[in-house]
């Protein structure tokens, strides 16, 4: 009968599992191995010349599906490093409690200011751990960050976005 074989198969599967070791990860009590590309939190970066990279363009705030990013745009002023006039953010908050970790803010950033980072204790033990102020975002800069930053992800688009189609023919390095 076609019913009996699967019934016995189910019994065999469960009894075989009984002799195996559990695969449970005792996560908060023992360190857990993360995948190499695992990333959980965010950081804001400085440019090589020491300026804050964020220009306060609010693109990340607009694209965020769960609307957890709030950017306070400051008036344009001269950069202390280069002397050129550019935009600044005077406030930047990101609420990880509602973040869906889609990384769209990273992809849309025109100046590679925001990146995703690995943090040792993710997701965190208190609510405050999940609320990233501008200060904490810049502190996270020291943490190892994911290779995917805005410009490299845009460059890896295939076909290239229309804005860069003519210029970026050789720049298609595969998923950096």
């Amino acid at each position: 009968m076609s019913v009996i074989a699967p019934l016995l198969d189910a019994l065999r599967t469960t009894i075989r599992n009984l002799g195996r070791k559990p695969i449970t990860a005792m996560h908060p009590f023992e360190p857990r191995t993360r995948a190499p590309r695992y990333r959980q939190s965010f950081a804001l970066l400085h440019e090589a010349n020491g300026d804050e990279a964020c220009i306060g363009c609010k693109k990340c705030e607009k694209i965020c599906p769960s609307e957890v990013i709030v950017v306070g745009t400051a008036a344009k002023r001269e950069s202390p490093a280069t002397g050129k006039k550019r935009g600044w953010a005077d406030d930047f908050t990101l609420d990880l409690q509602a973040c869906i970790v889609c990384e769209l803010c990273v992809q849309v950033c025109p100046v590679d200011a925001i990146v995703m980072v690995r943090v040792p204790n993710a997701p965190g033990f208190e609510r405050e751990d999940l609320f990233l102020t501008m200060k904490r975002l810049y502190e996270n800069e020291a943490l190892p960050h994911a290779p995917a930053i805005g410009s490299s992800m845009i460059a890896s688009h295939n076909p290239a976005p229309a804005s860069q189609a003519q210029a970026a023919a050789p720049a298609q390095e595969p998923g950096t």
Partner: protein, 336 residues
């Protein structure tokens, strides 16, 4: 009647209190064992943090259930709603009255013991329906209606399965049925066929009557939220839970009594040894039932009815007829 303590009333009282409290204790650790066992079957660990190996988990669970808010919905039928969990446990415990744990160690050795536990088993649907109707909730109501359909259907093969040992032993008294299997002539082994078939039928029908997985369609989390126990909180929910587990232990004990020779086993007829054999067999059968429970998914309502009316009922009738023929044939052979 064999009486251990003074009058029959005192005997029943002492044994009843003793057996019921022992069973309730055993049940809470049976639940712990099931959680560990099911965990390992699914490559998990099971209870771990409360006490060594999670051994204090049942106590922690009981305290947790006690401190939960005790909610009775405004629209519920208060009397039915609050009485149902209590009855669920009591009805599950009823069958214990006629169960011989060892020679002479039985609360009330009724002449119609088989009839008694069949009646008690059929009663399990009453608290279920009380909960389903009293909750005044559509999911509970649907669960209760399913429970009735299931219970009515599976009562029939259950009776047929229980009839086989009755025919083979010629008595409805459970101690006589055990005595007829003395010396290893267990009905599950001999006569070949009807005994074992009836045993399997008995277990299937009892599981269905007790709403255990894979026959738990009155609860059916994926369809009915939580079925009959949707509106129950805290200890009232806990009592349904307890009743279900008591019932599954009682089913194992009845199966052992009817088909595996009860307390019969090698060695001298000492009370302690008989008790040990009985407990051993019941534990083994319970573990087998757990194995079945954690291997299968729930049947659909219509599959459940198909299984009962199209397969279990005819095979039950066949088994009864076969055992009757067997008894007639051995009597002929005896006179020959």
């Amino acid at each position: 009647m064999n009486v251990l303590f003074g009058s029959p009333a005192l005997h029943a009282l002492v044994l009843g209190v003793g057996i019921v409290s022992a069973l309730l204790g055993v049940t809470s650790y049976f639940i712990w064992f099931e959680r560990k066992f099911a965990g390992r079957m699914q490559s998990r660990i099971g209870p771990k943090h409360v006490g060594p190996y999670g051994l204090l988990q049942p106590i922690a669970d009981a305290f947790k259930l006690l401190i939960k808010a005790d909610i009775t919905p405004d629209t519920a039928d208060r009397a039915l709603f609050n009485l149902a969990p209590l009855l669920a446990v009591c009805v599950a415990l009823l069958s214990l009255a006629v169960l011989p744990l060892a020679s002479g160690l039985v609360i009330a050795d009724l002449d119609v013991g088989v009839l008694f536990f069949l009646a008690a088993g059929a009663l399990t649907v009453v608290p279920t329906w009380m909960a389903g109707w009293g909750s005044n909730n559509k999911y509970a109501l649907l669960g209760g209606m399913r429970a009735i359909a299931q219970s009515v259907a599976y009562g029939v093969p259950l009776v047929l399965a229980a009839l086989v040992p009755v025919i083979l032993s010629g008595s409805m008294k459970l101690s006589d049925i055990v005595a007829a299997q003395a010396g290893g002539h267990w009905f599950a082994l001999w006569p070949p066929g009807p005994g074992l078939g009836a045993g399997v039928l008995f277990v299937l029908a009892s599981l269905a009557e007790g709403n255990r997985i894979p026959f738990d369609i009155p609860e059916a989390e994926s369809e009915l939220v939580s079925g009959i126990s949707t509106e129950y909180t805290g200890m009232k929910f806990g009592m349904f839970y307890l009743g279900e587990y008591v019932h599954s232990l009682v089913v194992a004990a009845l199966f052992v009594t009817l088909f595996l020779g009860g307390y019969d086993g090698p060695g001298p007829d000492v009370l302690a040894l008989q008790l040990l054999w009985f407990v051993l067999k019941v534990s083994l059968v319970s573990v087998l039932l757990l194995w079945v429970r954690w291997s299968y998914v729930r049947l659909r309502s219509d599959q459940l009815m198909t299984l009962c009316w199209k397969y279990l009922l005819p095979s039950g009738l066949l088994l009864v007829a076969a055992s009757a023929v067997w008894v007639w044939w051995t009597e002929q052979g005896g006179s020959r």
